[in-house]
Each structure stands twice: as structure tokens, then as C-alpha cells.
Amino acid sequence: MKKVPYRHPISKFLGACLVVFLLFSTALFSQDEAATQGDPAKGKQLFNQNCAACHSLDRKMTGPMLANIESKVIDAGKDRQWIYDWVRNSAGLIKSGDDYANKIFNEFNKVPMTPFPTLSDEDIDNILAYTAAPAATPKPAAAAGGAAQSAAPASSGINNTVVLGALVLIFGLLVIMLVLVNKTLRRIAEANGVVLEKERAEKRLPIWKAFVQNQFLVFVTVVFLLLAGAYYAFGWMMQIGIDQGYQPIQPIHYSHKIHAGDNKIDCKFCHSSARVSKTSGVPSLNVCMNCHKFISEYKGNPEGPSPEDLANGYTNEFYTGEIQKLYDAVGWDQENGSYTGKTKPVEWVRIHNLPDFVYFNHSQHVSVAGVECQTCHGPVEEMEVMYQYAPLTMGWCINCHKDTGVKMEGNEYYEKIHAELSKKYGVEKLTIAQMGGLECGKCHY
């Protein structure tokens, strides 16, 4: 007979009991922990949804910074119930004459906090767990990540130079070997009394002399050279005054790629006057600050900076430095979240510039015709550094006016003239040119 373990029903029962007991006890334990500690992950979500408009973990905003807020409140002699009361109805707490509540209210310019009656005790526990979680831990990790990231391209750079150096060395050795072989071969030839071809060729008529003596060839060559010269001279003169591809270095490295491309901010968000006025306008810095009051640090794409960006030096630290330049220009004190009043203008370099004798109106094109900004300005959402995409010459304007139809939808203004002119020209849809878009006086007066 074989011996089988756990045959005995009592030992089986006991084992099962032990397992159940262990499971249950861990469940109890974790529940117990949740009751006092809260869940930082859930807290983060709630914090980002409800609190982050006015509070940050690491700096003052509209309200106080919230890192380790519970221990601060406890230091002031209050308990967690006080926090519950404050979050759900701070105005009531202030009215009740609570000394600490009044102190905070006065410290933050008597701006009342929006009440959050919908947050339960558990929600607030979770948020407190998030604020109490050591904020420093992600930072070293991020720093280490950053260091690793910055180290990686450096090492690959060394690899590249090493490979290149080795290649140059091998190439040099080959050249030296070739020269040496050539030398020894010549010496052998000389010793054997072989006459080299070069010396024999001396006796023939040199090719350039033969060329000069043939007058027809000389004539053809001169005509060809003159035509080619005229072609290049014409091309060179035609590009004078055209700034296509002009890409100046701006005082603050503003990336259209990040703002319009990655974040998909509408062009007219910043260039708002393009809708309503002649110029599209460089946004004043208060428009930047509408978002950058909040965004003080560039955290990059979720996938991290591309190797191409890193090769150009566009690291997260670089972009954060550029945001800092904006803060210096508008006089924003990041620590206290207030303006210092010390401003200095940013001297942007103008790229698109029409001569003074041309009239161009942005609102007519953007609002009336509904032309996409990219039609003239190119793929701005892909430009890390802005440049002039179109030549902005008269021929370029005219070509577009000849090809583009008039936008009639929702525009009663053109209805009558469009009906009359389309009958006259016998076409269904008029182009801008047929509506008089080529008349000199439209743009030159």
C-alpha cells in the first residue's frame, strides 16, 4: 500500500481553514490600512480633477501648496475633521470664527475656495494620501531617467566619432599604402628601362591647343556659356527681395510644433486678430501667460523627446529654460505666483513682411474666404523653428486668385453679384479673379 499525504480529512479541513484565515486576515489588514491611509492613486485622479486649478503640490497658486497639508494642519492644532469641513464648506468654517480658517482666508487675499460638497470622507482621505505621498520620490527617478536619457545620446555620439575616426585612419593607411606601391612600381619600371606613357604623350598635340584651333567648337562653347550665364543671372536677379525660407533666430525659442502640432492649439487662439483685422498680430505675452501661469515646466511628450530633438539640444530642460525667459520678460514671480511689475519687451523678429505698396488683409482671407492658415504659411504645426513658407510674390498671389472659387456659403453679401457675373461668364462657380480679384486697385493704391 502506498502512503498518500493529506489523506486524513481532519488535516485537509485544518489546511483549508488556514488558507481561508490567511486570505481573510490580509483582506482585513488592507481594508484597515485603506481606512486610515487612503489610496494615493485615486487621490491623484481626484486632485487633478478638482484641486489642481488652484493648488499645486510644490508651489503657491491661487491657494496654498498642498504637499503634506495634513501634517501642517495638525501642527496648527486641527484634525482631519477640520479638513473635511474646510473642503466641503470653507465659507461656513470661516464664519464660525475658526482662527486657523480665518488666518488662511486672509493670507490668500480673501479669495473663497469653491465648496466641494460632493467629495466624500473617503475621497478626501484619498486626496490627503496623495498629498502626503513623498513628492520627492518621482523627482530623483525623473532626474535619473533624464540623466540616463542624456547619457545615452552622448555615448552614441562617442561611438559615432570613434567609428568615424577608425574609418579615417583606415582610409589614410590605404592612401599611404597606395602611394608606396606606386613608388616602388615606378622604381622597378625605371630599373627595367620601361618608358612611361606620360613621357610619350608629350609629343602629341595637347588637347586644349587642338580645341582652341577649332573655331567652331570655340564658338559653340562661348554661346553655351553665355546662355547658361544669362540663365543663372536671371534666376539670381529674380530672387532678390524674396524671403522664402527666411528663418531668423527668435529671442525666445517658441516651438510651433509643440503648441500647434502636439497640443493642437488653434492658430487663432494666439493670433486672434487674424479673424478681425488686417494684421494677424504677434500675441502679447499675457496670452502666453493664460496657459503658462500654470505650465511652468516642459514635461515633454508621453513618449519622451525624439532622438532628433535630442541631437538638436531640444531637451525638456531646454524648453523649461525658454519658459523661464517668458517669466523674466513678463515679470512673473513663480514662487509666490504673482507679477513683480518689472517687465521687459521681447523683440520678436518679423518673418512675413509685404512691401509697403501692397495691401493685404488677414480677416478677408481668414474669416470671409475661410482659407486655412497653412495654405500660405505652410505646415506650421510641424515647424520647430518658424520660417517663411511661401514666396509672397505677386505671381503667387495671382495664381491662387485665379484657381480659388469664391466662398458663398453663409455669405449673402456676394449673392447678387455672383448671380449676375456667373451668368455673364457662363460658369457655375466664379473664381476670385472673375469677381475682380485681379484688379490693380484691390491691392495697390
Binding site: 488653434d266 487662439f269 499675457n286 501667460m289 514635461k299
Partner: protein, 184 residues
């Protein structure tokens, strides 16, 4: 041999001229007199003004054409009073106003507040800007006057949009926001 030298020189000169092209500098012009205006250009530097800039703030105690002073202050009391405002736009033209407001909303507001007003715009989804509330938040209970006041002055992390939107446009957007709140 002499002619070869000359051709080489011409070619070399051409190469030199074309290699001068520098994307960081504007090109030369035939007659700058015709291109550069006599008047001051927008945003240009001006010697005689104290700030040195062409762009100036309105003179104190004046308002730009088409603008009206706003009677409520940027204080909690002002906001409470502004909450009771009614929209001054023509109620017979509401459909047009809301359509226009929607267009503007999608340019200026949807990037944070989301196309539906649920606080889930692209910048929020990418965690660039946080804490954007939904329009139907019970505790806030926004009204059309409230929205106008907030666009005018900004609130908490939101800045003022009074320089991007004019008086009528602000009310159009406010009405559209109330429509979103209703639909949410």
C-alpha cells in the same frame, strides 16, 4: 589656359554669391524705399515715445472704440453681482449667436474645457493643464453672467480672454457655454 582660368573664376564667384544665402538674414531688396514704409510699422521700435515701442496702452481714462467699461469688479462680491446679469444679445437672433459662439468656443475654450464642456480638452488629456471643472458642476452652478465675468477677468488658473474676444463675442461664447451646460 587663360580662358579656363577665367571660366573657373566666374564659376567660383557664382558659387561664392550663392553660398552667401543665410536663412537667418532677410534677402536684399532692389529699392528699399519702395518696400519700407515711411510710417511706423506695427510693433516697431519708436524713438520718441517713453516706452520706445509703437504698441502703447490706451491713455488713462479713455476706452478704445467699440469697448464699454465693465461695471463689476474682479472680486468675490463683483462675481456674485455679475452672476445675476442677463445676456444683452437680441433673443430673436439666438441661433446665430450660439452658432458664432460655438465657433469661437472651439478656438479659445475647447482646448481645455473640451468640446462638450466636460473639462476634458486636449491640454487636460495630455495633463498639461489640470483641474478644469465640468460646466454642470453643482457647487459652481454657473449662469450666463458668471461665464461672461469669468471670460472677462479669468478665474483661478484661467486667464482673461478679454483681449481675444470683444464684447459681443464674449456674450456669444457665454450663451454657447450655457447651451453646453444644458446638454451635458
Amino acid at each position: 589656359m587663360n580662358s579656363f582660368c577665367k571660366i573657373a573664376m566666374v564659376l567660383g564667384f557664382m558659387a561664392l554669391v550663392t553660398s552667401c544665402a543665410n536663412p537667418n538674414r532677410p534677402n536684399y531688396q532692389y529699392m528699399p524705399d519702395m518696400y519700407v514704409p515711411v510710417t511706423y510699422e506695427t510693433y516697431s521700435e519708436v524713438g520718441f515715445l517713453p516706452s520706445g515701442m509703437e504698441a502703447e496702452q490706451p491713455v488713462a481714462h479713455t476706452i478704445p472704440r467699440g469697448w464699454m467699461p465693465y461695471k463689476y469688479d474682479n472680486t468675490p462680491d463683483g462675481k456674485a453681482a455679475a452672476k445675476l446679469q442677463k445676456s444683452p444679445l437680441d433673443s430673436l437672433n439666438t441661433d446665430n449667436d450660439i452658432a458664432k459662439g460655438g465657433e469661437l468656443y472651439n478656438i479659445y475654450c475647447a482646448i481645455c474645457h473640451g468640446g462638450k464642456g466636460d473639462g476634458q480638452g486636449n491640454l487636460v488629456k495630455r495633463e498639461k493643464i489640470l483641474g478644469v471643472p465640468k460646466y454642470n458642476d453643482v457647487a459652481r452652478d454657473i449662469t450666463v453672467g458668471d461665464v461672461y465675468h469669468t471670460i472677462y477677468y479669468g478665474l483661478n488658473a484661467m486667464g482673461s480672454y478679454a483681449n481675444q474676444l470683444n464684447y459681443t463675442e464674449r456674450w456669444q461664447v457665454s450663451e454657447y457655454v450655457m447651451k453646453l451646460k444644458k446638454d451635458l
